[in-house]
């Protein structure tokens, strides 16, 4: 329900922003992130850094414990909690995507990187996964019970495959279009959920447990800095403008409040 609200809200905002910015492509309406019309990879020398902390605004909300309705001997070994808001030191907000909306050329993705998502103990890890378009994702199932990987794509083809206990590692096909974050679910264990953002360039970061992020190797210039957070929404309608100087460092913090339902 909550994710629906998020999508609907961001959708409304997205429409406004996208028409204003006339970004390319036909699928923006359902997306929560903003992608450049095109992106050219090149070598970046003397890039700058944008970093900062995302903080949750207000009192820490009550964290809901998830009800383990099934496979308790495996899934119930540790308590599971709702991960839509995870706070660290000083109310630092984990799992926020911070990114450059309008960069059209810059560094390539690091080569040889592996992209994985674990389902250990019936919980997806990471909860928010950045996945470059054209890259395969390795789903890990060390539980020796059945999961299914159900990805709620729109711009990309439907995906829902079973991963039984005998498929400890299952690679899933790469997608072609930037999209997301799209929700990932396991229908067998209804509480399992995560997000994948299919990204076209490397200037995306996910905040760590204390709400910290870093975007480095940024070519000098002025950019729109955006964020997305599952429970707090996006700033697509009002991104922050940041100017990066050669070799310089910019600090940009955000304070996010929970979206009203």
């Amino acid at each position: 329900m909550k994710t629906q609200v998020v999508t609907i809200l961001t959708l409304l905002i997205a429409c406004v922003y996208v028409t204003a910015a006339t970004a390319a492509g036909g699928d923006e309406a359902v997306e929560s992130l903003v992608f450049p019309a095109s992106y050219k990879a090149m070598s970046v020398s003397n890039g700058g850094t944008i970093s900062g902390t995302v903080t949750f605004d207000g009192a820490a909300p009550e964290i809901k414990k998830l009800e383990i309705t099934k496979d308790a001997q495996v899934c119930g070994k540790t308590d599971k909690f709702d991960e839509s808001i995870v706070l660290g030191e000083g109310n630092g907000l984990k799992n926020t995507i911070v990114y450059l909306m309008d960069i059209s050329s810059g560094a390539d993705f690091p080569s040889g990187a592996k992209y994985e998502m674990d389902q250990k103990g019936c919980q997806f890890d990471p909860h928010v996964r950045l996945l470059p378009i054209g890259q395969r994702l390795t789903m890990i199932n060390p539980d020796r019970i059945n999961h299914n990987v159900h990805i709620f794509s729109d711009a990309n083809p439907a995906f829902n495959k079973s991963q039984p206990g005998t498929r400890r590692k299952m690679n899933i096909k790469a997608v072609k279009k930037a999209e997301g974050p799209v929700s990932v679910k396991c229908d067998v264990h209804g509480w399992m959920n995560a997000w994948i953002a299919y990204i076209p360039h490397p200037y995306f970061a996910v905040t760590d447990e204390n709400g910290k992020y870093t975007l480095d190797n940024v070519p000098p210039g002025t950019y729109q800095l955006g964020y997305w957070q599952e429970a707090c929404g996006t700033n697509k309608d009002a991104p922050v403008s940041v100017t990066v100087e050669a070799g310089g460092t910019v600090t940009q913090d955000f304070t996010l409040a929970k979206m009203s339902k």
């Binding site: 395969r136 299914n148 439907a158 829902n160 495959k161 005998t166 690679n171 229908d187 209804g190």
Partner: protein, 577 residues
Amino acid sequence: MEKQSYKNTLLIVIGNLILLLAVFSITAFAQGKTAPAASEEGKALYDDKCAHCHGIEGAGDGSAAENLLPRPRDFTRGLYKIRSTESGQLPTDQDLFDIISNGMPGSSMPAWSEILSEGEQWQLVAHIKAFYDGFEGASPRLIDVSGKVPYSEESIAQGKEFYTNLGCVDCHGVIGRGDGTSAPDLADEWGFRSWPANLWEQWNYRGGSTTEDIFKRFIGGIAGSPMPSFISSFRLGLTDEESARMNDLELKMDGDGLSDTEEEEYAALEEKLFMFEDIMLNVEEGVELTPEEQTKLDTALEPILEKSWHLANYVKSLGPEERPPAAVGDKVLRSQYRAEGLPGMNDEAWNEIQEVSYFPLVGQIVIDPRQFNPSIDSVTAKSFYNDNEIVFLFTWDDRTKTLPQTDDETGETVEDALAIQFPVKISEGPTDPKPYFIYGDSRPVYLWSWKVAEPSTVIEMNAKGIGTATVQADQAPIQAEGVYKDGQYQLWIKRSLTTEDRNDVQFAPGVFIPIAFSAWDGSNGDVKTKRAISTWYTFVLDPVPSNKRFVYPPLVALISVGLLFGLRSSVRRRQNT
């Protein structure tokens, strides 16, 4: 017992099926026809025939959509359940044509083959495709159905193992009645409630119930629904021995850990698996394979597809293709005289009755609150009697056992329950009117009310119309026992043939006694009049054996058929007002 009668039908069905399939598989390769260009005619037809469910813009939001579950398809996302194509692929034009033609049993999607010409249906295919850009230039990959494994006991036995090991049980339940432990929490991609198919009710399969149909569903998945594709469930390219070895090593890995040589062995097996998987992912990503790669993949897939056919054969073996005939005419429920004593709930004696009587249920949509999407679609019954008592064994499928709980939506206390209804006074003949089939009218009804919270109790009630049901002050001793197992309730009830109470029904051999049912599925929000109901049926206590072959055919047939039509038109009339 029930299973046995299914099996008989099944053997015949299967015999026919194998014949049919032999004929059909010759044509199975063809992708079928393709749709013409989208046209004004197509749009006009769509707006007239389909838009009130699927919406003018195809978003599944027509004016009638709200009360339907499953919801009418949203055509704007290109997600189609019933495809002859692989996971993640669009359907073929022929798939869309077939769905329009045949409809989707078990849902409100009608079959159009008798209403629209073939040409018109093709125009609709073109119109529907136009709602989603992705169809442009797409050439979806077909599921290879060429390696069909013939139906045999051996194949079924193998398939049954895969059914358990691959996790079908999680959703469809141990024996397939749609009662798996994950079933209560499922939703489709639009956020609407989704129930796993009851695999025993093959007449409700959306996409048909031939072995091919079943095979395609779990190879390709049912897009938009929780049901995944199982194509990657086996270890591609590994022999059964290698796969078993991998299992052992993984067990050990999680236990004491692997030795260096075992570590290497595992890595080698994994590498082999990934090499084949890589070829398959290339196909999924649209990369052209070299002929060698293609051969490699085909060879690796062969044993996997074979196993999948075993699984399809197993699922096929679960139930009859056709919905059983209703308990009218020569199928009417007959209570059999049994001098040896009346059987208890789990008594072998029940097997003496070969054919169970089948009572179809529909949603109660006449009186508020209504049930437009009933989850219980039938009750079955068997019965014996002797000189003093009568005993019944009722069964009905329900995917969840719901003890009294608060319904999230309505705040009402809901629970699973069954009521069996008789008129207090049995009519003299076809012209003597019966009480209104929902809780009677000026002519009262007598009810046996059973609720899951007290499974060994049946309460006697009377009603003279909706909202008037009252518990009898004076309860006759009725024995009852209800159990829930594998997605099915069984309820055993025993009462004396006659009682002193003028408000009870009295059973006597040779008399046609009207009987009707109401069933509540708590997890479906059923409460009060929101429930599944049947019309009046009749049953009869077979005469005492001296002439056991005595039949009453024409009269019973007449009464029952008349009743069925009566209900239909009365429901329709009320719906219209």
